[in-house]
Amino acid sequence: MALLAAALPSPATLARGAPRAHPLRRLLRRRGAAVGLVIVTFFVALAVLAPAVSPYDPLATSWTAIRKAPDTAHWFGTDEIGRDVLSRVVWGARASLLAGVVSVLISLSIGVPIGLVAGYAGGKVDMLISRLTDAVLACPFLILAIALAAFLGPSLTNAMIAIGVSATPVFVRLTRGQTMAIKAEDFILAARAIGNPPWRVALRHVLPNVVPALIVQGTLAIAAAVIAEASLSFLGLGQQPPAPSWGSMLNTAKNYIENAPWMAVWPGLSIFALVLSFNLVGDGLRDALDPRQA
């Protein structure tokens, strides 16, 4: 009887409906998201362990191994000055992941407080912030990032700043919209009624409820930032040579496409795999954190 009682849901549970699985478990149940998570973990491990797993120094040139096709010594072949492509792809993962994560952190750290203020304060403050956001959104993302990187000067740090600033309006809009919706909920009225100051209500009660949407958007934004960093590096505005970056590797590779196509295949496939996996995780998170999908 005791066993039966333990197996049955309690009346309280029945009243609340079936208990929902942990969001991570729900995420891993989605095959696409699970595959994406494995690939992201693989690239993170590759970036962290680059000095240990890279077979050669990514900057070491060899005049006897110029544009060598893939073989047992160089699995991904060598580039135009004899550098090992595999080692450069492994080290390039660092630049891409760093740019993806740091850019999104920049966007979050600027966008979330501004969106929170706009959504919570409303009125003229909201109108001013919204018009400013519209202005930044009116400039196509990559064109604004190119302009910012051009004026700041070409470097990986400036590329990350440019991408982060260009992507900020999306987070302002998202946070503002979510804040406005949550602000109208009863528990916020209750928090205000017991005398909490506005900043405490915004930070302690509104912000935690915005976080799930930010996690989803942040994951998808990392994918966009990885492509943006590769694009800027491809144009020569991101990571500067000889430091390895997938985008700058492709920029060089396009000049040798007839004689050394492997130089273009691997960095491109790496960008594709990383971006695809972040997109899969983002889509999976959207479903996992959506209460309607539980």
Binding site: I146, G153, I257
Partner: protein, 314 residues
């Protein structure tokens, strides 16, 4: 309708003012004296003095902005130091090439994206649906400059069917023009097709479950008519607005695509200007692009109201 138009236009005025401030502010990011930096590597004292006077660098920032915006309103976006030409003239010279490329890209995106979205929604959870979703995910995750390089490798280097780079005017050689633009247009249209496919699928799913579609089916109309005449017409309405938002992707993508295929368009103009440190051109191109984006979105909103009678009533 008139009230809507007036209200909608009124909202873009402050946006345009902020855009102009933002783009003018870019100049302030230049390290050191802007006149010296803008004068290029030669730093000719005469050029520096000319720029200092032309840009009113001795005046306070707000005054400089007013001088600049007055010029912009009169069609003066500055002058290219490298090419010794007005920026607006340069933009107008390169724009037709990018417009042709963009038009072809949109056509390709529509031809792939909308039918794929319809099939995906009509055959929900079938192999077609999964295949369309995989293709969409591929389109969203592939860097277009890499796709461009891979297509050059396949169609130009290996098969020798298409030229790897360059541009021929359609007035000189139409066949050569199409051969030169088909690969870049596909590269550019690929990502937009993926987005259109997703929007069409979700709009179709919503429309297909509505009462009037059920009524049309109950009347015994052939499924083809229900989908194409009743469901698709309404499903395409939100796709117009959401598709217009992809104009930014199109313009951003054009920068990279033109670089890969060496097409002398608008995108290549901004990249060349960046490397020549021709900042007036960079500023001019960004301002032109942002204004075009805002105006085209306005047109999309108007089109949305025209095609959707419910919006007109509201």
């Amino acid at each position: 309708m008139l009230t809507f138009l007036v209200r909608r236009i009124a909202t873009i005025v402050p946006t345009l003012i902020f855009v102009s401030m933002l783009i003018f502010g870019l100049q302030q990011l230049l390290p050191g004296d802007p006149a010296v930096v803008l004068a290029g590597e030669d730093r000719d004292p005469n050029v520096v003095a000319y720029l200092r006077e032309k840009l009113h660098l001795d005046e306070p920032l707000p005054v400089r902005y007013l001088y600049w915006i007055k010029g912009v309103l009169h069609g003066d976006l500055g002058e290219s130091l490298r090419m010794q030409k007005p920026v607006l003239a340069l933009i107008m010279e390169k724009l037709p090439v990018t417009l042709e490329l963009a038009s072809m890209a949109i056509l390709i995106a529509l031809v792939i994206g909308i039918p794929a979205g319809i099939i995906s929604a009509v055959r929900r959870n079938s192999a077609w649906d999964y295949a369309a979703n995989v293709v969409a995910l591929w389109g969203l995750s592939t860097p277009n400059f890499w796709l461009g390089i891979m297509l050059i490798l396949l169609f130009s280097v290996t098969l020798g069917w298409l030229p790897a780079s360059g541009f021929v005017s359609p007035f000189e050689d139409l066949k050569g023009n199409l051969a030169a633009l088909i690969m870049p247009a596909f590269v550019l249209g690929n990502a937009i097709a993926a987005v259109l496919m997703r929007h069409t699928r979700s709009a179709m799913l919503q429309v297909l479950s509505s009462d009037y579609v059920r009524t049309a089916r109950a009347k015994g109309l052939p499924e083809r008519n229900v989908i194409l005449k009743h469901a698709l017409r309404n499903a395409l309405i939100p796709v117009i607005t959401l598709g217009a938002l992809e104009l930014g992707t199109l313009l951003s993508g054009a920068v990279l695509t033109e670089q890969v295929f060496t097409i002398p368009g608008f995108g290549k103009l901004i990249v060349d200007a960046v490397f020549n440190r021709d900042y007036a051109v960079v500023q001019g191109v960004v301002l032109f692009t942002a204004t075009a984006y805002i105006v085209l979105n306005l047109f999309a909103d108007i089109a949305y109201v025209i095609v959707n009678p419910q919006m007109r009533v509201q």
